[in-house]
């Protein structure tokens, strides 16, 4: 069997363009496309699981010219994650909106998947643009004041980010005349030292805006608060995860230097501490979850930044943290639609989500923190470990407050929401419990 990862990008894009022509069937088309994507992502993942990495070139051009997709185990897993959750989330929320929403949703998913799969930095930029534009519109879709405010903030920062990304790419291209990350990686040493660093800084800043790292994340609280809970859920498992992965990929493939890792570590630690502390006294649930997301992104970035020495442990940690955060935070955002956690489904979703983020075994979050610790301790980063612990305690503080505050019998969620929530959150349990997780964790994720 031959796998074409490009289909994962092409199908939603095509579906998105079809939807305006068949407005009535918008939901069905989008759901179908996403179902296909989900199935295909599973298939691709299992293929990669047994065969290894895939490179695919589009339109017959060889690198460094054409569209180039490079899929390894981690990116396949992320593509699977994004498409799977996108499908579940869409089933839950899609019916509430008109065809435009479906279209934008598909675009966002296509973009996020593209960011994850692509092996070409210019394509990455394009996918970023697609994702970002779709996200602005999705956030603004709620049409109230806060939504528009969030969307505008996101848009302003996103535009700046685009410019920076583009500048970074231009700098690299001006020196190396190539856009393929592997080509760039092979010839990076021939770059002018200063331009090399400048381009890295530009790319980090640009992508960092999407990846919610401090201090580039000014849009995050407003956008999450303004967006409807479904969209907030989408933002937390889609674009942000794709973006943090993009940072990791650029850092690990193109700029695998001590200094870059160091910068990523510092930025990650600062993001973690600031995010968690900012969440501590937050009263608004969505805002609190948004700040918490910032903290978690910092944690994931720390995990990636530790990959320079302990690539195995660091990547397993990042993998589990991404899974845990995506599943827990998306379901918590869905839950935030209800004023309190009435009923068993809502209650246990909330509790499991919170426990997973705090890092209680046997949930996925625990394994993330465990491997992160193993990686950190090898480099004797005591301060980092302390700060991670401190952040964890702060996390426990505000999540306990959240759990207490949202205790109640009221539940305004319909069945689709509940099912989506439970299915999403069950991933953190399943991946924590099932042996496959350990198996996966014991395999090399990067490259092989």
């Amino acid at each position: 069997m031959v796998v074409h990862p490009v289909l994962l990008i092409a199908i939603p894009l095509i579906a998105a363009f079809i939807i305006p022509l068949a407005k009535k069937y918008g939901f069905a088309i989008a759901a179908g496309a996403m179902a296909f994507n989900m199935g295909y992502a599973i298939g691709m993942f299992s293929y990669i699981y047994s065969h290894g990495k895939i490179y695919e070139m589009i339109a017959g051009f060889k690198p460094p010219v054409g569209i180039f997709l490079a899929v390894d185990a981690l990116s396949a897993m992320l593509a699977l994650l994004i498409n799977l959750f996108a499908f579940i989330n869409f089933i839950a929320i899609g019916k509430e909106w008109n065809y435009k929403f479906s279209m934008l949703y598909l675009l966002a998913i296509a973009g996020s998947t593209g960011i994850v799969l692509t092996g070409d930095i210019f394509n990455m930029f394009i996918f970023f643009e697609i994702t970002a534009v779709a996200s602005y519109a999705l956030i603004a879709g709620k049409k109230d004041e806060k939504a528009i405010e969030g969307a505008i903030k996101y848009m302003v920062l996103g535009s700046i980010a685009s410019i920076f990304i583009l500048m970074g790419i231009a700098l690299i291209y001006s020196q190396l005349k190539t856009l393929n990350i592997y080509d760039i990686a092979a010839r990076i040493s021939s770059m002018d030292e200063k331009i090399k660093w400048a381009s890295f800084a530009l790319l980090l800043t640009g992508i960092g805006v999407e990846a919610e790292i401090f201090p580039l994340n000014g849009w995050v609280p407003a956008a999450y608060q303004g967006a409807s809970s479904g969209v907030a859920s989408l933002l937390s498992f889609g674009p942000s995860k794709a973006a943090i992965y993009a940072i990791a990929r650029i850092m690990m493939v193109i700029f695998p230097f001590h200094a870059t890792y160091e910068i990523a570590l510092y930025v990650g630690v600062v993001t973690l501490v600031i995010g968690e502390l900012a969440a501590f006294m937050q009263e608004d649930v969505k805002r609190m979850l948004a700040y918490s997301s910032i903290g978690q992104m910092g944690l994931i970035l720390i995990a990636f930044s530790l990959a320079s020495q302990n690539i195995q442990n660091a990547l397993i940690a990042a993998f589990f943290l991404i899974i845990s955060h995506a599943s827990a935070k998306s379901s918590l955002f869905l839950l935030s639609r209800s004023p309190s956690m009435g009923g068993a489904a809502c209650k246990y979703t909330g509790i499991v989500g919170v426990l997973s983020i705090i890092g209680m075994p046997p949930l996925a979050g625990f394994w993330g923190k465990w491997y992160l610790m193993l990686a950190a301790i090898n480099e004797k980063l005591w301060l980092v470990i302390m700060l991670v612990f401190f952040a964890g305690i702060v996390e426990a503080g505000y999540f306990a407050r959240y759990l207490h505050k949202s205790m109640g019998n009221e539940s305004k969620l319909n069945l689709r929401y509940k099912v989506a929530m439970v299915v999403m959150v069950s991933f953190t349990i399943l991946l924590g419990l099932l042996p496959i997780a350990y198996k996966m964790a014991s395999l090399p994720l990067w490259g092989w």
Partner: protein, 607 residues
């Protein structure tokens, strides 16, 4: 066999999500007896002749690269003896305690399974895994209380404890490159010191040592009684299990000593323990809420165990283990009795209760006996335990610890009497209350049995803990069945008992020589005024130790809770400050982006 036991516990936990209250309590009760069979079986390995069920001593559960090493050690066997029997009885108690099954049983079973797991784990990963499962399952039980302070403080302190333990384990792992606990011995130097210190701090959260006890009064006073009985009786011992394990079995004391030969760190632990015992006792005296009183009493009584570990001589450790065993049972009985009282009357405030001794005589008897053990009345096992600790302190000439311990022992009389008088004696406020349901009574009385067995035979207890001590290289002290002998003195419980019985003879003659008649309660001298109770503040149990309160409380007022609240608020202020970064103006954010870019660029280019 062992994996089957675990599997059954987990399956039972899942089943109890879906069945009714009575069935759930029966399932939980019967399933949780299984580990007791294992305990009986394992006793064969430690020099006791019992029945064998063919349950293995060691087991490795290997799952895709990660191996959990499980197995019984003499130490964990002894701790299992005191923790595990509580569980089926608490389930028996809960048979009539709860109105419906709303998530108590599954998490209780998770907590139980993880407790069993902690005791059996032989490597750091499984220890930590089970510890965390215990943490969250007990958190979910606390969560049922719906009390803000309880939920927040328990989760924060649990996470703190977990991280401190994780930190210690990580260092040990990093230094030894082995997850097995038995390989720890090689560690030395600053890392060993930090690791052991961090582990002790982590464990002392669960064992409610004084500075880290702040969660306990809230949690103990707001959660369901059966759970609190397990929390205070059982789970708090796990902290001391961890301490014993790392300090003595795994030579933590030597690790500490090797790094700083001139500082007696274990003395610090003893000081903390004695302050814990003293301060908590004083605070317990002042409480009006029955559960808060018992909570502070728990903190105080558990402090004694820390003193024992801190002193660290064989005498002291024996006393500490003895005290741990006693505390598991008498505090469980007390919490269950308090629960039974509340079940019938619906009141928690001591000043609103009263006169239940004749209405609930069996509950009263159970509580009375538990209080005898708590207040260390001679011939009860409670006295033997505390006696050993006192002897140990005098033997080591610890002149700071000994007075605090002893005065805390006297203070125990004060709050014990508070319970007896306020709840069971005094004015008769509930003339229509019935005795607690049979299952509750049965649970309390069966829980008392171990205490009764060791009443005049403290020697049996010392025999039981002998394997655990000798496994850690601690010699056990000289004793016969009913007498314990130390280098300082001797305590013969049989002599006390016989003399007490003999001395009862003249008392009994006086008692029987003249007849008496029992008058109604209202026939009470109040300067001729008829006895009427309408005003609760006229009740003598209201504000009982008021004179003491005025003198003592000012010194204890800014307690640990106060400082933790300060820290919490401090973090809140920090948080509010940090939130200022997010000004809400997108212009600012754009400036941040540019500054970040320049900073990163600058860092990379010029560094």
């Amino acid at each position: 066999m062992l994996d089957i036991i675990f599997a059954e516990l987990i399956i039972a936990a899942i089943i109890t999500f879906f069945v009714g209250k009575k069935i759930a309590s029966i399932i939980a009760g019967f399933i949780s007896i299984l580990p007791l069979f294992a305990l009986i079986d394992w006793a064969n390995n430690f020099g006791f002749k019992t029945i064998s069920f063919g349950i293995e001593r060691q087991m490795n559960i290997s799952v895709a690269g990660i191996t959990l090493h499980l197995g019984i050690t003499p130490l964990s066997w002894f701790f299992a003896l005191m923790i595990l029997p509580l569980f089926p009885l608490i389930m028996l108690y809960s048979y009539s305690f709860f109105k419906e099954n709303d998530g108590f049983y599954p998490f209780m079973l998770f907590a139980f399974a993880s407790t069993f797991g902690i005791l059996l784990s032989k490597d750091m990963l499984s220890l930590f895994l089970f510890w965390e499962i215990m943490s969250w399952s007990s958190f979910l039980l606390v969560y049922r209380s719906r009390d803000k302070e309880a939920i927040i403080s328990y989760l924060i302190f649990s996470v703190f404890s977990a991280f401190a333990i994780l930190f210690g384990l990580m260092i040990l792992w990093h230094e030894n490159f082995s997850l097995l606990l038995s390989d720890i011995g090689r560690i030395n130097g600053i890392y060993g010191f930090i690791a052991i210190a961090s582990l002790i701090i982590g464990f002392s959260v669960k064992s409610v040592l004084m500075p880290l006890h702040a969660w306990a009064p809230f949690v103990y006073s707001k959660s369901d009684e059966p759970f609190v009985a397990f929390l205070s009786g059982g789970l708090s011992k796990l902290g001391y299990y961890g301490m014993f394990l790392f300090l003595f079995t795994l030579n933590g004391v030597k690790i500490l000593q090797n790094y700083t030969p001139n500082v007696a760190w274990n003395y610090l632990l003893a000081v903390v323990g004695s302050l814990s015992a003293f301060v908590a006792t004083m605070l317990a005296i002042m409480q009006d809420d029955l559960r808060k009183l018992l909570a502070y009493s728990s903190i105080g009584q558990l402090g004694y165990i820390a003193i024992g570990f801190g002193i660290g001589t064989p005498l002291a450790i024996t006393g500490a283990l003895f005290q741990a065993f006693n505390h598991a049972f008498f505090k469980a009985v007390l919490f269950l009795a308090a629960g039974a009282v509340a079940y019938r009357t619906g009141k928690w405030k001591i000043s609103e209760l009263g006169g239940l001794a004749y209405r609930m005589p069996l509950t009263f008897l159970a509580a009375l006996f538990a209080i005898f053990a708590l207040a260390a009345i001679p011939i009860t096992s409670g006295f033997a335990a505390k006696w050993l600790l006192y002897e140990a302190a005098i033997q080591q000439k610890y002149v700071f610890i000994a007075p605090l311990m002893l005065i805390a022992g006297v203070g125990a009389f004060l709050y014990s009497f508070r319970i007896l008088y306020g709840v069971f004696l005094g004015e008769n406020r509930y003339p229509d209350v019935k005795e607690a349901p049979k299952s509750m009574i049965a649970a309390m009385f069966i829980l008392m049995l171990p205490l009764i067995i060791f009443v005049v035979f403290p020697g049996y207890m010392l025999d039981l803990m002998k394997p655990a001590l000798s496994n850690s290289g601690i010699e056990s002290i000289a004793h016969t069945k009913f007498a314990i002998e130390t280098s300082l003195a001797k305590y013969n419980s049989m002599a006390v008992l016989i003399t007490l019985i003999a001395a009862m003879v003249p008392a009994f003659i006086i008692y029987k020589a003249r007849k008496h008649r029992i008058t109604s309660f209202e026939d009470n001298y109040l300067a001729g005024e008829p006895y009427e109770f309408h005003n609760p503040s006229m009740h003598a149990a209201h504000n009982f130790y008021k004179p003491l309160k005025g003198v003592v409380l000012p010194y204890f007022e800014p307690g640990a809770t106060y400082y933790f609240e300060k820290i919490y608020k401090g973090i809140g202020i920090l948080s509010n400050g940090i939130r200022r970064i997010y000004t809400g103006f997108v212009q600012d954010y754009a400036i941040y982006v540019v500054i970040f870019l320049l900073a990163v660029m600058g860092w990379l280019i010029w560094m």
